[in-house]
Assembly symmetry: C2
């Protein structure tokens, strides 16, 4: 294990999809990283207790757990199931000592076109989950997703909207995710990042690039920092100036990245982070 | 020619891509429509004077000309060429008696990641074009495109941003397009449509649906009203309440729609318009 990797860089395990949890943790440790962002499916494969031990024994910490959410169902049964699943996710985050549960709030229910109502339901259900999360010291982090996922993944489409939803709750309970891929296009982004910082709500900063063409599976349409259109210097300066001092996760869903050797991906990720992100962190 | 087609419905010729201008005009007339939205490539095939005569002789009017724009180049030569091309488009709009030139403002120049600067250049170049357009009684209509086209097609991503840009100019000179596909996801949409109406800037209302999956060519990712996720009743009510009384264009880029017989597409378009749009127009 080297000790040279950047202190705040975290490997989100979605970036190395073909690695098991243990392989991802071992790979991160080999690369000298200090943190990993975990996805629940990989945690479930080994069990939450074992996952926590694997991370701890490697000397790493968990920067976030992905993901809770999918809270937009209109019917009672689906809603109850979704809330149960979110409570389970909160329990897992607590057991993993993950400070943050990333919330991808869900799209429109099948056949439903009432976007405003779906957005209202998200607010109501976040409010239901907050006391449970607070008891376990887990911050719910609302993630605005790119508007191209509004129909099927997340009806929260902008940072402003996430902050407006979060405003009903203390910042320690409900924060927001700033993800470069999802937010880079937003003309309100500098102002809303500043606001998020002033409110103490930046719970996670995630980086990957916007590349073209959009992938055949739109969910996999992400690229390594530097391979696309995003100005990471500007974005990182804004997030830094807003006072964020936490982990910076690299989360890349990409068939191309997944086809490569994991260690090679981590080397490239560290190189690009050093070049495009780290120099713009004053904090 | 029937006389039963809805008075404000206009066929944008992009919807019937395989038809020549004359075929599209004839098809629109056969269907009883009163207006067509034209694309410059189809106009160029016959020449502007002939295109104007074809439309006039069929008893139709031109609802808009698509498109000017692509104004984001950073270098002097490309900028001069773009401005020339836009002046030509303004001339064509005037000759076609099109009240509106739709502006798709362009994405980031190759290798350029400074989105804020590209957006500023758009503002400067719109300002350069305004006197020329005013002389010819052509309103420039800034079209916010869906954020998934921000990198390569249009750095104007929201209606608010289009209105902020337009604010430097009288409404008669610079308006905005409200296109369902591009804007339906926007949490600020109702408020910004209301604002656009109050400022007298709604220059065009275009309708087509957001369908999934996103098409392999993302530009072709549109569907017929009713086939996707958009609540046309709500959107149409907002646009109507904002005082818009102009033409309503159906503009669908879609390999699936293009593969069908044009007359059949027009019949379906009229049927869906009657069901999903027209009942929500009070004006």
């Amino acid at each position: 294990m080297t000790s040279t990797a950047p202190a705040r860089l975290s490997l989100n395990t979605a970036t190395t999809k073909n690695w098991t949890l243990r392989e991802a943790v071992d790979g991160a440790a080999r690369a000298g990283l200090h943190a990993v962002g975990l996805w629940r499916d990989r945690v479930a494969e080994v069990g939450t207790g074992s996952a926590a031990a694997i991370v701890r024994d490697a000397g790493l910490r968990v920067s976030s757990l992905c993901r809770g959410g999918f809270l937009t169902a209109a019917d009672r049964t689906s809603t109850a199931m979704a809330l149960d699943d979110n409570r389970a996710a909160i329990d897992e985050a607590a057991e993993l000592d993950a400070p943050v549960l990333v919330m991808v709030v869900g799209g429109l229910p099948p056949g439903d076109r009432d976007l405003a109502a779906a957005r209202e339901r998200v607010g109501e259900r976040i409010a239901e989950l907050v006391p449970y999360a607070r008891q376990r010291s887990v911050q719910l982090a609302l993630e605005p997703l790119h508007p191209m996922y509004c129909a099927d993944r997340a009806v929260i489409s902008t940072l402003k909207q996430a902050l407006d939803l979060a405003a009903d709750h203390p910042a320690a309970d409900v924060g927001v995710v700033v993800d470069s891929f999802h937010t880079w296009w937003d003309p309100e982004l500098p102002a809303q990042i500043q606001r998020a910082g002033a409110e103490g709500r930046i719970a996670s900063y995630q980086v990957c690039d916007w590349t073209l063409p959009i992938a055949p599976d739109a969910l996999l349409s992400r690229g390594m920092m530097g391979d696309g259109f995003i100005d990471f210097a500007a974005l990182t300066r804004w997030v830094d100036a807003a006072g964020y001092r936490g982990d910076i996760e690299v989360e890349i869903f990409s068939a191309d990245i997944w086809a490569r050797d994991g260690d090679t991906v981590l080397d490239l990720m560290i190189e690009r982070y050093r070049e495009l992100v780290e120099p713009f962190l004053a904090g």
